[in-house]
């Protein structure tokens, strides 16, 4: 292999290391085909969703369901969703709750995960069991509500964060990654007299960027898409987060279960179209967040660090 061809290849595929053999054509085709199929499996339905959200009501009515082939375009579903300031206020609420909640959850979870990462420490097993048991037994709605109420948390944003701040699953994943970091890395710091907190902040966390990103994402997605706590603990409509407002908006056009009067929006909106628009709006945070998260998934990020 001449230097020249190697150079050209590295230009075309910049990340391929020198030692890796060039891929076979069949392998590439198989891999590409597989990925393409997987992506099409997602994009096909997504297409239907987007087209339906942009279709005028008569078209949706005529088709009697989701629209596959676009016949006319209207943005009325989106303008309806975004008009009135209600949604924009709810977006601010959701962003605030998500940011604060994620920070809070990450802080307590990272601490706990590190605290549990040394088997044999005092109470290790007991604490682990205490945490895990909560994964299997749930308390009923009423006791939880009464507790939150007696703590004075109802009608506060804290009620959207504190009761669901801890995910034991996430702590266990963090812990597993922390435990996977080779002990030699922390040993020298420990001998130098560094405290556990210092070791966590200066050695463990920088080495765990990928998993920290993942768990932050898990928490953030959890806070962003939560609606049940708000529907139970909040009474003030002004405080409602985005998901609750979207759910209510979608229901605007449905047949009220009581048969009581509904605002019938003549000929403009279809509940299906609105629903689909809500789905599309719900995807936006993913589109925004994924580049930030993916940055942390580069192959061999820890190169060098673990080598010692």
């Amino acid at each position: 292999m001449s230097l020249n061809t190697q150079l050209i290849r590295s230009l075309r595929a910049p990340a391929r290391p020198v030692w890796e053999e060039p891929p076979s054509k069949a392998g590439l085709t198989a891999k590409g085909g597989f990925l393409l199929l997987a992506c099409l499996g997602v994009l096909g339905p997504l297409w239907i969703v987007i087209v339906t959200s942009l279709s005028p009501k008569p078209v949706i009515d005529r088709v009697g369901g989701l629209v596959v082939i676009p016949q006319g375009i209207t943005f009325v579903n989106y303008t309806e969703l975004l008009s009135g300031g209600q949604v924009s206020r709810a977006i601010m609420v959701s962003i605030g709750v998500t940011l604060f909640g994620t920070l809070f959850s990450m802080a307590v979870s990272v601490l706990a995960a590190y605290g549990l990462s040394r088997p044999g420490s005092l109470g290790h097993r007991f604490f682990l069991m205490t945490m895990m048991a909560t994964m299997f037994f749930g308390a009923g709605l009423i006791p939880t509500y009464l507790l939150v109420q007696s703590l004075g948390l109802t009608d506060t944003y804290l009620s959207l964060v504190l009761p669901s701040a801890v995910s034991v699953f996430n702590i266990l994943v963090l812990r597993a990654f922390f435990m996977g970091i080779s002990p030699e890395l922390t040993e020298s710091a420990r001998i130098d007299g560094a405290s556990d907190l210092r070791i966590l902040l200066t050695i463990i966390m920088p080495l765990s960027r990928a998993v920290l990103a993942v768990i932050s994402l898990f928490y953030a997605v959890g806070y962003w898409s939560a609606w049940f706590n708000a529907s139970i603990y909040l009474t003030d409509q002004e405080m409602m987060p985005l998901q609750n407002v979207l759910i209510q908006l979608v229901q605007k056009n449905t047949e009220a279960p009581t048969g009581l009067q509904q605002a019938v929006r003549t000929g403009q909106l279809s509940s299906l179209g609105l629903q689909m628009a809500v789905m599309v709006l719900a995807l936006i945070p993913v589109a925004v967040a994924s580049p930030f998260v993916q940055r942390h998934f580069k192959k061999g990020m820890l190169t060098g660090a673990v080598k010692g």
Binding site: P17, W19, E20, E21, G27, K31, G41, V42, L46, I48, A112, Y114, G115, R118, P119, G120, S121, L122, G123, R125, F127, L128, M129, M131, M132, T134, M135, F136, F137, G138, A139, G140, I142, L147, L162, V166, V168, F169, A176, M179, S182, P183, R190, L197, V214, L217, S225, Q275, A282, L283, V286, S290, P291, V293, Q294, H296, K299, M301, T303, V306
Partner: protein
Amino acid sequence: MSLTAGSRAGGTRPPAAVEEPTAAVTTAARKTRAPRGARKAGKVPWRIRLRRDRALILMIFPVILLLLLFNYVPLLGNVVAFQDYDPYSSSNGIAAIFHSPWVGVEQFSRMFEDPLFWDATQNTLVLFVLQLVLFFPVPIVLALVINSVVRPRVRAVAQAIMYLPHFFSWVLVITVFQQILGGAGILAQTLEAHGWSGFDLMTDADLFKCLVTAQAVWKDAGWGIIVFLAALSAVSTDLYEAAAMDGAGRWRRMWHVTLPALRPVIALLLVLRVGDALSVGFEQYLLQRNAVGAGAAEVLDTYVWNMGIQNGDFSYAAAVGLAKGLIAVGLVLGANKFAHLLGEQGVYKK
């Protein structure tokens, strides 16, 4: 200090073991070390351990406090499983516990007598096994494929697309499936045009369990790759390079470098998944129960919902919830044992 390091050595593994011998040595070392009980039997007095580990305990404290407050305190409410609880019999729901009659295990015997409870338990377990076999490996395979893609743009786009369905609600996923596979769906219409009539996958009780597994794969497999990608990113490139220098091909590298690196994560997620198995896809089943009937689609969670919450029978809901929790704990203990047999850590150590 040396004690700390020593006690840690057994439980921790380097993220990846390149050569088989190393791994074998580690495992062997673990097997030959003194049984845990003996070690624990008080070589180190707890006072010293407390001084040594107090920083760790302080770090765990906030989470334990939150869990005690929001999980354990309300959990006491589960005593109503042994009552005929009337939350309105006193000034508030807590005081009402002291005013409601105790009925012993009546709620549990009611549960055992209800054939629907057994249907639900059986469906839950069958679905759990199906999902374990058919769903669980998919994200791993996807993660491996994506990880092997070198071009950053292709990688990023493919990843981003695969996350998307996770953010669709079940209502939508089922609507889309109905529109494609239902009796009046796109596929049925196409078949009808060619003289095949009566195609309707969505109301077929026999195929239901495969169908819901397929739906779960479509919705959440892409999201599931995230953890594995994170694990893969922790594998040092040096290990691959060393393996390649030793003449290991693509497949051998995957076998000897990649998979061992993923193994602890896979074992962990497997155990956690087992614990979660009984709570999977509540909304998914509730939405499709009418299509295929309760005999095929009732799972424990929908059962609790219907019998307990829907009918306002809090005591019965608590009883079924407790039973479900016990089954889940049993499954997790089993899975953890299995992980140990494979030489993995699982969630906690023996």
